[in-house]
Symmetry: C3
């Protein structure tokens, strides 16, 4: 299989390393994850087992509600032979160092991976994952843990790497290859939503990742809806290095002109999320409520930031590929007015399902690359092993 | 094994088809499910593995509380090698078309089966299952899903096929065979319960299924406690075709006379359930409460509808086989007065446990028949494979 | 492997028997559990699969919150090839005989083990486990269940056998062997905690178990903080038989003098727990609240019962091994003042993690010994089988 040959040539250092931010990984490392995910998906389609663990646990630690990512993590774990064990915490608790250190070890005696979602508090989610990592390092070094469980970031305050890597894999299939994306215009645009406080991780993850591969990325949002400045800098630097470009616009229509790929999605302004984090920590419900009202009022001034037929017609061949992490706020369906018109969403609905469908494989690829030094060798071995996932009736 | 030979001769079209209502299945198809369930149970007893999936997910979607069916579904999934992943929704939500379409796909990227319980709303539960099915068909046709997950109805507003098929399998064991049931008198009787709003699915499922095999089925209930008319028609037509009979009585004692099998169980009247569904949709708590009070008052006028020693003595040889889906409302135990007297229940208690014990195998059989074109061939292969479920120590 | 030879010589009668109290087991039987746990741990470290079930369920029935034991049970089950299915009950319910009898069977049709935690009510937890056991015996004898699931006590009102056996295994590793513990002084001491109503199971379990192997056990607590008298008698008798000793002191400092092992931990007085159980049953919230206030006030008079540097310096070589079931109430960290000073806890923190790390293996050993008549033979077979837990890439 050519795909194995391609990943064999990559120089990577993923073994034993957590996957926390795409911009901490080299281009080859990102290609490795995409390549392994692709092979895993093909194996599934051909009824070849991807099971490498005869037993073992994958811990899911969701500090925020989730259905889609929860199922993706469960699917990835199951595909490799691991059972998922949920860690249920008090939902609103901001963890303390000591507790994290102990809990991380207590849940890991026989665990192979921990998937963490912690996107509620700006400045906290990614930090928490690293605290868990340090605790696991400590436990492993001291003989407490037989293996150092790998950590997969299932969304934090900074990045949503499993989502945006799935988005990217989807793009390579839609456009033919990673190379074919070079020079394509991708618009990551804010869009209106009647809800408030949506995380920044997706837009940040998108601009930081898509600028790695020579795309021309435009970030569009109404004045004031800034992302974390340091991550915008990451995107800017990536673009400079990869030969693409990165620009910011404050008009949706202007940004959409000539776009090949569009990602219209709501988020809360960075400075609001900072205030919100402070208020959540102090537990001031009155001020939190006031902040929410102010925010919703602000959002309401930008109801024209809807992706619809008019916007679509501005894009390349009137047919830019529409991306969304789902669920989208669809005008007239899931809300009175939202991020996208029903007509436009329906045009690309199946494509968004295909996009989402890559996530389980991306997560599984991150797990394998973390655990096996020679991931390409492993894939070869699994393909040669030809173990059936579902027993076939015909042959014995 | 003779059992395999028997199912080999059956003409069925279960492959790739959801199991939603027994009356959508042919007699041969029902026999296939019973036969496969029997073989699976024997394999378990003989420590032969029934595992056909090396990995894979079975999604459980319980829109109403459940312990027994939840465990049966978990057991069936595990027996075949699948891990259960729960889909937790907001409990009271009546789903919207768009949401179902998307969610059905999002949870199914690597799923093999979805078990659904949705029995709260008349006219909704079975419809919801079909909406999920259509969404899965759509996802599979569009390449979103690598396989089309099969749907198992774990109880809806119309039928409770896994329960009544387990009941039927139990009857074949108690009476020797399916053929031995021909001409036997089965009474599906309403019984008093201090609780309100019990679903119609069990009595409807019982009369629709048991009339398929030449039994003489009597449905007994106080005036006003009707079931869904269309399903009563199904039972009437089935009886006409199968050579059995179907009659309705409004006296428990009269119905019990000469019965070989009795199924005394409470349910809410059809027209009340319809009102209740409307009120639940509109969310009118005051009217809901009034309806409940009226209902309980109505029920209380029929406290004499208790299955007890007096009733039992009216049955064939004073020893009709007592069936119940459990838990029963037992007078003096789980409630002051209920569906059955403690003394009478105790006579048949162990038999009701045996009855319940068939359900995991019935569910597993439905899954296998959905997934494998040649189910009989599969069973043969598994029996020949002789893989141990539990490692035996003696031989290597 | 010498370890297998050692367990081969033991005379045990663990097959088919629940593990409910350590003092119902012979010395050889306890040695068997320790030995099997050790071998399982070594197998894990050497990537040898311990999977003996190709499929099967382990039911977890936690009637009180738990993270650590929940994960230990999940790990043990997974290690053997079983999937965990949670039984969620109403949290505060004190079960009735009839319900237990039925539920025990309904969840067990395809279950291999049931792990139960029920430590809330004095006189209830262990009794409940035996009721479940009787119900399972009944179901198995009547052909309802294909196997009689084994019960593992995951903490009751009397004992916490999986915890104290893990503690003991940890001690054998720290001191070299079970024999090396003979003559060592172990202090099970009450310690101050700002919380109320902590169960008695750990101190009771510790004194009852550690007196079996020739240790000199001292139980220390402020006047009034007695344990269940019958279990104190068990400890006293054990010490007499094993050649160790058992004494009670009412001064922490006095007890600590010359100690080799210390276990400072809070608990509620026996007579308070009895009152509390009565009040919980009657549901009298006002009196419960009053009892809590009285208790907390009582506790507060013993804030000097903190294990700290001063206490540590009284112990043998100023370095007694510190044990705790975790989480400890650490002064200045998890509470203002608690069971142990931060400085002293930190000295032994990693050791307490190692201690906790034995629990999954102890649980798995209890399961195997329950299920397999020739546990030593099984361990030999698994070691010879050399099945990899994680696929290795290098060899095919």
């Amino acid at each position: 299989m050519d795909r194995v040959e391609i990943i064999e040539r990559l120089k990577t250092n993923l073994h034993g390393r957590d996957f926390l931010l795409t911009w901490e990984k080299s281009e080859d490392e990102l290609r490795m994850i995409l390549g392994v995910a692709d092979i895993l998906k093909e194996m599934r389609n051909r009824n070849i087992s991807t099971r490498v663990f005869d037993s073992g646990l994958a811990i899911s630690n969701f500090r925020d509600k989730s259905t889609r990512t929860r199922f993706s993590f469960a699917s990835a774990s199951n595909m490799l032979g691991l059972a998922v064990q949920d860690l249920d915490e008090e939902k609103s608790q901001i963890s303390h160092g000591e507790t994290v250190r102990e809990t991380a070890n207590m849940i890991s005696f026989l665990s192979d991976f921990i998937g963490i979602r912690d996107d509620m508090y700006l400045g906290e989610g990614n930090k928490y994952m690293r605290q868990v990592g340090t605790a696991l390092d400590d436990g492993f070094a001291n003989g407490v843990l037989p293996v150092r469980p790998g950590i997969v970031n299932l969304q934090c305050d900074m990045d949503h790497p499993t989502q945006v890597m799935a988005d990217l894999l989807h793009l390579t299939h839609e456009f033919g290859s990673l190379e074919a994306l070079r020079g394509k215009k991708l618009v990551m645009s804010w869009a209106y939503s009647p809800s408030y406080g949506k995380p920044l991780s997706v837009p940040q993850g998108v601009i930081a990742l898509m600028t790695r591969f020579g795309l021309n990325v435009e970030l569009a949002y109404p004045e004031g809806y800034d992302l974390i400045p340091e991550i915008v800098d990451v995107a800017r630097n990536n673009a400079a290095k990869s030969g693409g470009s990165f620009t910011i616009k404050h008009s949706m229509a202007e940004a959409m002109r000539g776009a090949d790929i569009v990602y219209p999605k709501s988020w809360a302004p960075f400075h609001i999320m900072e205030q919100r984090t402070q208020l959540l920590k102090s537990g001031d419900k009155k001020l939190l409520n006031e902040l929410e009202q102010t925010c919703l009022a602000n959002n309401a001034r930008h109801k024209d930031w809807e992706y619809n037929e008019e916007m679509r017609r501005l894009t390349s061949k009137s047919d830019a590929l529409y991306l969304h992490c789902l669920p989208a706020d669809i005008s007239g369906e899931s809300c009175a007015q939202g991020e996208v018109s029903a007509e436009t969403f329906e045009r690309y609905r199946i494509k968004t399902y295909l996009e989402a469908g890559y996530k389980p494989y991306i997560i599984a690829a991150m797990m394998l690359a973390n655990r096996f030094e020679d991931t390409a060798g492993l894939m070869k071995k699994l393909l040669d092993r030809k173990q059936e996932r579902v027993t076939s009736v015909l042959k014995l």
